[in-house]
Each structure stands twice: as C-alpha cells, then as structure tokens.
C-alpha cells in the first residue's frame, strides 16, 4: 500500500479538491525539487518526463498529434520539439484516423510511434484504425508484421466543466478488442512508469490519461528511467471487509470513501487495476476471496462498462465466497451532462452508501 506522503489543505474549489489521491497531493508549484533523484511532479509533468526519456533513449521514437508541437493543449509535450526537433515531435492535421493510421505505418517500420489524440471523446474517428488495423496487425499477418511500437495517449474523464465532448471515459469500447492493451494510470508516478512501459511494450496500447489529475495530482516521482509492469493490478489499500476495484482518477474518490468507511468500522481493500486488458484477474480474485465482497466504480456509464466484465468474471470465480451481490457505482446511462455533472458522477457518498449496503447485505 502506498503511504500517504503529504496531505494538506488547499485553496482549490471544493469539487476539485475532491480529486486528490492520498498518494498524490496538491501543490502550488508543479515541480519541486526533492532529494535523492526524486522530484515532486504533477501528472502532466510526469507524462512529459516520460516522453522526454522515451525520445532520448530511442532515436526511433516519435511523438505526434494535434498541437503537440507547441507543447499540447494540456502541456504534456512541452519542450519536446525544441529538444528533439520538429521531425520527431510534430503537429499533425486535425484527423484522428489519420493520426492513428500514420502511427500504425510508422510503428510497422520498427519505430516507437507515440500518438496523441487530444481528447478521448475524439478518438472515435480512429476506432476503425485501432480495432480493425492496429489490434489485428500482428495476428492477421501470422506475426510477419506488427505495430507493437504504437502507443496512443489520450486524456479522458470528467473535469468539472467538460460537458458531452470533453469528459467521456470510453475505455470499455477498447476493452472488447483482442490485440490491444488498455492502460490507465492513477497518479504522476504511475503515469510515468506505466507510460514508459506502454511505449516499450511490443503491442499497440491505448493509454488513457486522467485529465482532471494533470495539474491536480502531485506526487514524488523518481527522475530516472523506470517502468511499471503492465497487466498487474496493485492493492493500494489493504482491508478485509470489501474489495473496491477502480482505475485512473476514480481511485481518489474511492479512497475517500474507504477513509470514511473506516471511520464507521468498515475495512476496505482498494485495488488499482491499471491495465484493463489483458487484466489481472488473479489479484482481484484473491482479494475478493478474502473479503467476500466486491464493488467496482468507474466514471463511464454503468451499462456495458468494464465494471460489468469484472463483475461477471469474479462471480464466475468467487461465487461461493461472495457474501453480497457485486456493487457497481458508475456514471449514469446518459450522455455526459454539463450542468448535471455532479449528479451523474459516481461520487464519494454514492460509493460509501454502496460499501455500507454491501457489507450489511
């Protein structure tokens, strides 16, 4: 379990302050130099650092997408073009299917193609290239060709004011596609290590970045080149009464619910899935066999969300050990609504209620 390094009050709006993870607190300065090769970084800076390392350690690595040349609308690619040149870090035309198609061709020639889709809400024009091309590239050729060097980075999720088209969490669509991996980090340190793993993994990967945490989540991040394993979930908080599974920005909300539940004497185990496909069933299974209860939470609409897959798989494996129905606390089955966002979201108290009713079932 990651320890709570720093927790302190902040002047942000209340909605925003709810997003802090105990392992990633808010600070005014994005980067504060610390000792022993560790720097306090926010999430976009950690991504930026990973991209610097990726480009620096592999001359065949490229970073491209809409507006990445000047640093990107979320600043994740700041300084890359200056350092590595416009031939390796460049803007593309505004065309998502072009970005991914281009990336597949680049990767298929033995390069690390790191493509950015500006918002996950806009990834759908590239869906065909991802599903029918990238995902099947190795399989359909009998392993003669692959585009494993392709990593598609894209910011996802609620941000407080994003409405329909700057808020969505479309990860479940991609979890139905054999041949790609889907990875979502929860914090700056995780983002850097997981992104470097994705870039260097020999399979095409969609890497969803929790955009609400870009500036908000700050954490001590090792400055060196490190990678975190894919398809390995992490128990980030141990408990014995109920297992909570989530990923990305939602984990901070879930952790707050765990803390509140603790005050009421309920011990929650919290798991960060990190890689959604191929996912680490064993870690979740082991936890649920211990606690006998499972709650899954994600921002995406509940129907057909990846929570449904986790629920079904765990019921298959742990049916006799379950002491209550699996609970899902997710986004509602509406388009992402601007004014109604606080109603739509799987908030702390919704989770807390679900924890209590599951434990008291």
């Amino acid at each position: 379990m990651s320890s709570c390094v720093k927790r302190f009050g902040r002047s942000c709006a209340s909605l925003v302050s709810k997003r802090g993870l105990s392992t990633s607190c808010i600070q005014k300065d994005a980067a504060v130099v610390a000792e022993n090769g560790v720097k306090s970084l926010n999430l976009y800076s950690a991504i930026n650092q990973a991209l610097h390392i990726a480009l620096d350690t592999d001359p065949r690595a490229y970073v491209f997408g809409e507006d990445v040349g000047f640093g990107g609308v979320f600043r994740c690619t700041t300084g890359l073009a200056d350092r590595f040149g416009r031939s390796r870090v460049f803007n593309t035309p505004l065309c998502e299917q072009g970005i991914v198609g281009f990336g597949i061709g680049l990767a298929a020639m033995g390069n690390r193609a790191i493509a950015e889709i500006q918002f996950a809400d806009y990834i759908f024009p590239a869906f065909d290239q991802i599903v029918n091309e990238a995902a099947k590239f190795r399989y359909r050729s009998g392993n003669q060709f692959n585009c494993g060097g392709l990593t598609i980075r894209t910011p996802y999720g609620a941000v407080g004011h994003g409405g329909h088209y700057h808020s969505q969490s479309p990860e479940a669509f991609f979890c139905h596609v054999p041949g790609i991996k889907v990875v979502i980090p929860r914090s700056p340190k995780q983002a850097k290590g997981l992104l470097l793993s994705c870039i260097r993994d020999p399979n095409p990967i969609v890497f969803f970045e929790p955009k609400w945490l870009y500036r908000l989540a700050v954490e001590d991040v090792p400055e060196d080149d490190y990678m975190l394993p894919l398809s390995e979930a992490e128990v980030i908080r141990q408990g014995c009464d109920i297992t909570l599974v989530g990923w990305g920005a939602q984990l901070s909300i879930m952790e707050q619910a765990c803390l509140d539940a603790e005050k009421e004497g309920i011990s929650c185990e919290l798991i960060d899935l990190k890689t959604l496909i191929p996912w680490d069933k064993e870690t979740v299974e082991a936890s649920v066999k211990k606690t006998g209860r499972l709650l899954i939470s994600h921002e995406a609409p509940v129907t057909g969300g990846f929570g449904a897959e986790i629920s079904a798989s765990i019921i298959e494996r742990c049916f006799s050990r379950l002491e209550a129905p699996v609970a899902r606390v997710c986004g509602l089955d509406t388009p992402f609504p601007l004014v109604f966002e606080p109603f739509y979201m799987p908030t702390k108290n919704k989770i807390l209620d679900a924890i209590k009713s599951t434990v008291n079932y």
Binding site: S87, F90, G98, F102, L106, A108, G179
Partner: protein
C-alpha cells in the same frame, strides 16, 4: 525541421520530367509563379484545364494570410465544379498495341517486356484457375484481378523491391512480381499450415515480410494513412525507397483516403498513391461514387502531384509509376496516380455483376480493351514473342498452378495453438485459460470440431 534535413532538390528532376513531358498535374504550391519551377508545367494541357488561379488579381493588393499571400480580385467568381474538358489520360500504346505518335515514355527492353508479359499471363491464369477452384467449393472465396493485369504488373515492375507496398486486395500481381510463388498463393487460399497468415484470414489476404508487402486487410482505404507513416519512416532513415499504396475508386470516398492524402502532403512523405479506377465498387458505379472528374483532380486540392494514366496500357502505367517513384524519392513528396481501367471480373466469388451492369459492357472491356493482349501485340511487334513462346508459357503456368493447388489442398491445416498465438507478442493469461478450456471441450466433443486441424 524535416524540410531542412531532407532539402528538396526539385531542380535535379526537372530535366527528366521535361523530357518525359508527362502530364503530371502540379500541386497549387508549385504552381505559384516562382519562375523556374513554373515554366515546366505551363504548357501542359492538364494544367491549363485545372488552372483555377485568378490571373486578374492586382499583385500589389494581397492579404498576408497564414499560409501565404493571397491576391485580391474585384470580380466575384466561383470556381466551377469541374472544368469543361476532362483531364486527359496518359497513354503510350493505342488500343491495338501500337506506340502512340510523339509518345514519351520510360523505355523498357526485351527482358523486362517479356517478363512483364509473362507475369500478366501468370496472373490471368492463376485467376482463372483459382476462380474455378472456388466454384468447385475447394476454397471458400476468391477475388480476381481480371482486366487489371497491367496496373498490377506494370506498376510492380516500375518499383524497386525495397519500396514498401500497402496493398488493397486487387493487386496480387505486385506480390507475384516480387517473387511470391504460385504455391504460396495457393497455400494462403487454402489456409493451410504453410500460409504465412496461419489460416486466420479469408483467401486472397496475402502478405509477405520478405517481399515488403504488408498483409492485406479487408477494410477499404485503411492502408493509405499507414503507407504515409511508413513513408515517413523511410524519409527519416534516409532510404532511397518509397511507400506505395493502392486503392480503388470506391476507396476514395473513405475518410482514410482523405487522411492519407492530406497527411502525405503535409508530412512531405515519399509515398505513391495508385488508385485503380475500375468503374465499379461492387455494384456502385463511379457516377454514384463521386461528382468530380475522377480521382486525379483530387490531388491538386491536397497539394499533391497527380497524373491520370490509361490503366490498361502497361507501358503508360510503367512510365507513370517509374517517374512518380523518382519524384517521391528525390523530391520527398507524395504523388497520386489514377489508373483508368475496368473490373472485368465480378467483385468477388460472392458477387454476380451481371445483376447490375450490362453483359455487353463487360464483354467489350474483356475482348476489346484487354490489357494483356494489347501489351502482347506490342511485344510481338518487337519480335520478342512468338506463338510457340505463348503456348509454352500458358501450358507451363497452368501446370504449375494446378500442381500448387494439389499440394496446398493436401497440406495440413495450422495447429490449434495458432488460434491463440500472435494476438499479443506473448500469450496472455486469459488466452491461456481459454485455450485450456477449449481443449477440454474438444476432448469431450471431438465430433463438433474439424478433424483436419491438428490439436
């Protein structure tokens, strides 16, 4: 940055282009009156037709707009949808296989000509026999290139084997030219253990790493932006090679056509787009596909050099592709080739095209406009080909194809493990589990499963 690293040396090619006098349509960016570059396009008919520029603007009055200065005009004039006269089609051989008067083309010698003709015949023969084999129910599907043998073989002949091919599905001739054997074609169509694709895809979805021929996928035009990415890689590596990608007239309606063309232009990618405009996208005729003057005119709007070529004229295709390749590599820029041809066969074995197009039309193109016999007449006229050669070739190819089919049909299917391999670089835990469960089920119900797949 890319431009600086790979500075364009357009003047080097200028003489060559002038010599061929090919009617490449210049892109608007090259059209701007920067004297030396402009003169070489000025005289072409195609350029005159497509020259939508306004000559009456006052040079002193310009708007300094992002992307370059634009002159003003006091005349309110809309650019018309198409020009009155369609862009002419470059050809070298007439319908009778005679060299056109005053033709300019890349010369080819006896050895190349005979090889081109032989490969066209091989493709034709392979198509005929494989088609029949499908009709007999021995393979599940087939798709011929009938009527498009010249686009297939002549374009392949004009390229280097280092050029990277991103095919659609009606260009098996390119792979044939590169040395993929009739046996290898047959293995793929039978989906046996020798199929490079391990029996996972329908027949005709060939691919060969050794031959720089990326594995075919069924979705239309998806390969175009991929070819641009590959071309960019060649550019960054400073390779003397280009990417070449094919699509049909229907493919130009896909978003990926737009993506590919626009990315190629913006990235200065050395890629040659070859569009086989064969008149039909399954049952949809070109009149219902687009309102433009075909595909060639689309290049200019993207800032890409373009040419329309007679796709049933092997020498014209060869010359255009050869020159396009030089432009792509030496100038580090894309080129678009529209080859006018005709799909003589049905779309595939799942289609009966007589339901939607007149048999007379098919027969006309099959008999009067056949690219193979047209090229043959030219080869014969040069004294490079005899009736005896013809008999020997056809008989030999037929025998080889029949033999290949017999061998492929007898070969074992790929083993069950190949169903699970290659989804990822390594078997994931969910696939391990699913394979284990499946094997138990097969043990229990062996009759539910094909007996020819080794377990």
């Amino acid at each position: 940055m890319a431009g600086l690293l790979f500075g364009r040396s357009r003047n080097l090619l200028q003489n060559k282009v002038q010599r061929f006098l090919l009617t490449f349509i210049a892109s608007p960016t090259n059209n701007l009156p920067t004297a030396s570059n402009f003169s070489r396009y000025e005289s072409t008919k195609a350029q005159a037709q497509l020259d939508l520029q306004h000559h009456d603007h006052d040079d002193d009055q310009v708007i300094d707009f992002p992307g370059g200065k634009v002159g003003f005009t006091s005349e309110m004039r809309f650019i018309s949808d198409t020009s009155h006269k369609r862009v002419p089609c470059y050809r070298v051989l007439d319908d009778d296989g005679q060299l056109m008067k005053h033709t300019n083309h890349v010369q080819i010698g006896k050895e190349m000509a005979v090889r081109m003709y032989s490969e066209m015949v091989t493709l034709q023969t392979m198509d005929n026999i494989f088609y029949e084999v499908q009709r007999q129910g021995r393979i599940s599907f087939y798709l011929t290139s009938m009527g498009e043998e010249a686009v297939n073989i002549a374009s392949a002949a004009a390229l280097s084997s280092h050029d990277i091919i991103f095919p659609q599905y009606r260009e098996p001739g390119v792979l044939l030219w590169r040395g993929f054997t009739l046996q290898q074609f047959a293995h793929q169509c039978f989906g046996n253990t020798n199929d490079f694709g391990k029996g996972r895809q329908m027949p005709i979805h060939y691919g060969s790493n050794k031959h720089n021929y990326f594995t075919i996928s069924s979705p239309i035009a998806t390969q175009l932006p991929q070819a641009v990415g590959a071309a960019y890689s060649l550019k960054m590596d400073g390779k003397s090679a280009c990417a070449v990608t094919y699509c049909g007239d229907g493919g130009t309606s896909e978003g990926d056509f737009h993506a590919g063309m626009n990315f190629a232009a913006v990235m200065d990618a050395p890629v040659v787009f070859i569009c086989r405009n064969n008149g039909w996208a399954i049952s949809t005729p070109v009149e219902e596909q687009f309102r433009s003057d075909g595909i060639v005119v689309k290049g200019q709007a993207y800032g890409i050099w373009s040419i329309r070529v007679d796709g049933n004229d092997a020498l014209a295709v060869y010359s255009a592709v050869h020159t396009a390749r030089e432009i792509a590599i030496k100038e580090q820029r894309p080129v678009l080739i529209e080859a006018l041809t005709y799909r003589v066969g049905h779309h595939s074995t799942s289609d009966d095209s007589t339901k939607y197009r007149p048999i007379d039309e098919i027969e006309y193109w099959k008999m009067e406009r056949d690219p193979v016999s047209r090229f043959k007449r030219w080869v014969e006229r040069n004294g490079w080909w005899s009736d005896k050669d013809e008999l020997e070739l056809r008989s030999s190819v037929r025998k080889q194809t029949m033999h290949a089919i017999q061998v492929a049909e007898k070969a074992q299917k790929p083993p069950l493990e190949d169903m699970f391999n290659d989804v990822y670089d390594q078997l994931s835990s969910n696939l391990e589990e699913q394979e284990r469960i499946l094997r138990k089920t097969i043990e229990k119900y062996p009759k539910d499963y094909p007996s020819d797949v080794p377990l």
